[in-house]
């Protein structure tokens, strides 16, 4: 199912708003290299009980994400974007509806089964980096493989590779407090991709970073998406950051308000090249 069809089938869409959007062309939807939908959310409802009051965080969200997509999820606070991320990340279960990840309905799995899904199929990148303190970059990246049960030698090798991909091969023995914010976030990205997940979920990954470092981190995401075909969904409230993605989904009041493709995403690499070089963005780490 193509993104376009999803959009048009979405009961909850704001039709007139959608029509106002520039993008209707779904360039990658016709890409024969992309397989069937990676993620399908069907009429997802999430209700929280706060004392006597029922809070409807999600009021029927349906969504398809294909392999290789790069999605920015936007919305105001309380719009349901975080709840959606938690459900996508198998950290939370929907009250109603179905979530099919990689052909498996995960909406009814047990706590431990969800832990295994998170371990194998989902990589997390957080706003606050969430690295284990006083643990080297290498060991932080090894952590997901520990729970996968890999051998020590394989763990180290794969962690090394992942750190090389994010350009931190020379920093692997540093502790998080010896790394800059951007470097820490790149360690977190390395950790998220080390188990070869189906999707990387990034929750405000640039929220704690300055603008130049933000561009660098977005550059890493774009590179992973472009060169390795890794599916990425990131939550952000900065429209600038969303411009690096290839598709934007906007939440409002527990529903998807808008879902559109970005015709010409910004290129972090080009922007970095045009930025005046600074001496060394890693100077603060010693």
């Amino acid at each position: 199912m193509t993104v376009r069809e999803v959009v048009s089938n979405n009961e909850e869409k704001g039709r007139d708003l959608l029509e106002a959007q520039v993008v209707t062309e779904t360039e990658h939807a016709n890409d024969p290299l992309l397989g069937p939908a990676l993620i399908t959310l069907e009429h997802i409802h999430k209700t929280y009980q706060m004392g006597d009051v029922e809070i409807h965080a999600l009021r029927g969200v349906s969504l398809h994400i294909d392999r290789g997509e790069f999605i920015a999820i936007m919305g105001a606070s309380g719009s349901g974007k975080s709840t959606t991320m938690n459900i996508l990340g198998c950290l939370d279960k929907p009250t109603r509806g179905h979530y099919v990840l990689d052909g498996q309905d995960v909406s009814t799995l047990s706590r431990d089964e969800l832990a295994d899904i998170r371990n194998r199929k989902i990589g997390f990148v957080f706003q606050g980096f969430n690295l284990l303190s006083r643990t080297s970059a290498l060991e932080n990246v090894e952590l997901p493989m520990l729970y996968l049960g890999l051998k020590s030698s394989e763990r180290t090798e794969r962690a090394r590779e992942a750190l090389e991909i994010v350009g931190l091969a020379d920093r692997m023995h540093n502790m998080p407090n010896q790394l800059s914010g951007g470097q820490q976030q790149r360690v977190a990205i390395a950790r998220s991709l080390v188990n070869h997940p189906s999707i990387i979920l990034a929750d405000e990954p640039t929220g704690n970073l300055d603008s130049r470092t933000s561009v660098e981190v977005m550059g890493v995401f774009q590179q992973l998406n472009r060169d390795r075909g890794i599916t990425i969904a990131l939550v952000t409230h900065e429209p600038d950051i969303a411009q690096y993605a290839r598709r934007t989904i906007v939440f409002k009041d527990g529903r998807i308000k808008n879902d559109y493709l970005i015709k010409e995403p910004r290129s972090a690499r080009e922007e970095l090249e045009s930025l005046p070089p600074i001496e060394d963005d890693e100077e603060d780490d010693e």
Binding site: N86, G89, L91, D92, R111, D112, A115, D116, R118, N119, R120, F124, F126, N130, L131, L132, R134, L143, P144, L146, Y147, L148, G149, R191, N195
Partner: protein, 407 residues
């Protein structure tokens, strides 16, 4: 995730808060140390009591003649002449609970060798050839007299270490002839050192001669003062006591309303009471020390609860990247077990050191038992599991979303 790795992670987590971990361990360490030291003290007392039983002889009983009663004047125990060598022989042959018997005759008198003289505080004891076996008192040099010496009332003697030191002053007394109550006796052996009895009396200050020689050559009597009896086992001493009583009442033709004209004294009785007291003492000390171990366990639980709260975010991260509840629970459980086991191991060292210091400075006998060390290790692991389980379960039950959001 394998166990070895989990242990390594636990140790690393504990070394991050060194002071806190050490203080927490200290609780268990003092608890285990106290248990081991106290059990060592109790066991020392108990083994001392048992040693004094062994020192007295081989499951030993005494039969003493009763009080002489002449015209209403009573001479006290041992003063009558109702016990005979035949009584001793009858006890040996007719009481199944009895293993060996020796008649005993006591005399006082001066010992002379060359220009030295001495009066043995342990008296001159006349016995038969079974004396070393009954009293479990081996010969150090020479040999003990034989059945033949007893039959012929030979003038031979075996002397205690104190007598040898005082009369013979460095010479080997074996083969020399000394005078006992002015009669020449050839020294044929020296007894090994026995030390003091439980009343502080020097048991080595004695001379042993064949009881027949003492009867005929020194005292001109036919009766004996005492019968030394060795029962077949420690518990058989009680059976032996009643068998001897029945036999002697019959032999002395005592009617049902007549009192015994002898006393049977069971030494095991006294010693066992002392041993039982020592055991009560041990249990009391161990249970007091056990309370401190319990307090140590509560300390571990407290610290683990603090640790779980502090590391909520870490728990959230681990859960997000795929740790199952079980893995989290195991991680914290192993941390608390590592704490308590390490405390236990250091506690063993502390307990052993304390026992040594106590026995050296207070000269209390201590005995460190391997069982108490083994039990301490098991118990401290158990404390770690018991008091670590609740915090570990709390950690494993955290909601990953909440945990990740925790500041």
């Amino acid at each position: 995730m394998n166990l070895f790795l989990t242990i390594r992670i636990a140790i690393r987590a504990l070394t991050r808060n060194k002071l806190r971990s050490i203080l927490t361990m200290l609780g268990i360490m003092i608890g285990v140390g106290a248990v081991i030291a106290n059990i060592a003290i109790g066991q020392g007392a108990s083994s001392q009591a048992q040693a004094s039983i062994a020192n007295m002889g081989n499951n030993m009983l005494f039969v003493q003649s009763g009080s002489m009663n002449t015209a209403g004047m009573r001479g006290g125990a041992g003063s009558s002449n109702t016990l005979t060598p035949d009584d001793a022989a009858a006890i040996e042959t007719e009481c199944p609970a009895v293993r060996a018997v020796s008649p005993a005759v006591f005399a006082n008198g001066q010992l002379v060798f060359g220009n030295q003289n001495w009066v043995a505080s342990g008296r001159i004891q006349g016995t038969n050839e079974k004396f070393p076996d009954i009293r479990s008192w081996p010969i150090a040099a020479g040999e003990f007299f034989t059945e033949g010496d007893v039959r012929t009332a030979a003038r031979v003697c075996v002397i205690g270490k104190t007598v040898a030191d005082n009369l013979f002053a460095g010479n080997d007394p074996v083969g020399l002839t000394m005078r006992i109550r002015n009669l020449p006796f050839r020294v044929i052996g020296v007894l090994s050192t026995k030390g003091q009895n439980q009343y502080g009396q020097d048991q080595d200050d004695t001379v042993i001669v064949p009881y027949t020689a003492a009867q005929k050559k020194m005292l001109s009597i036919t009766f004996i003062n005492q019968i030394m009896v060795s029962a077949v086992s420690p518990s058989a001493t009680y059976t032996a006591e009643s068998q001897i009583t029945d036999l002697l009442r019959q032999r002395h033709k005592l009617g049902a309303n007549q009192d015994n004209d002898f006393f049977v004294r069971n030494l095991t009785d006294i010693a066992e009471l002392a041993d039982a007291n020592a055991k009560i003492f041990t249990n009391l000390l161990a249970s007091i020390a056990g309370v401190s171990l319990l307090v140590g366990g509560i300390g571990i639980m407290n610290i683990m609860l603090v640790s779980v709260t502090e590391r909520t975010r870490e728990i959230g991260i681990r859960m997000a990247i795929g740790a199952r509840s079980k893995a989290i629970r195991r991680q914290f459980l192993i941390e608390s077990v590592t704490l308590s086991l390490a405390g236990g191991v250091f506690g063993i060292a502390l307990g052993v050191a304390a026992s040594i210091v106590i026995s050296n400075t207070l000269s209390w006998p201590t005995l460190i038992s391997p069982v108490s060390i083994f039990a301490s290790v098991i118990f401290s692991a158990f404390v770690g599991i018991a008091f670590g389980y609740y915090p570990a379960r709390k950690a494993a039950g955290l909601d990953p979303i909440e945990a990740l959001r925790y500041e």
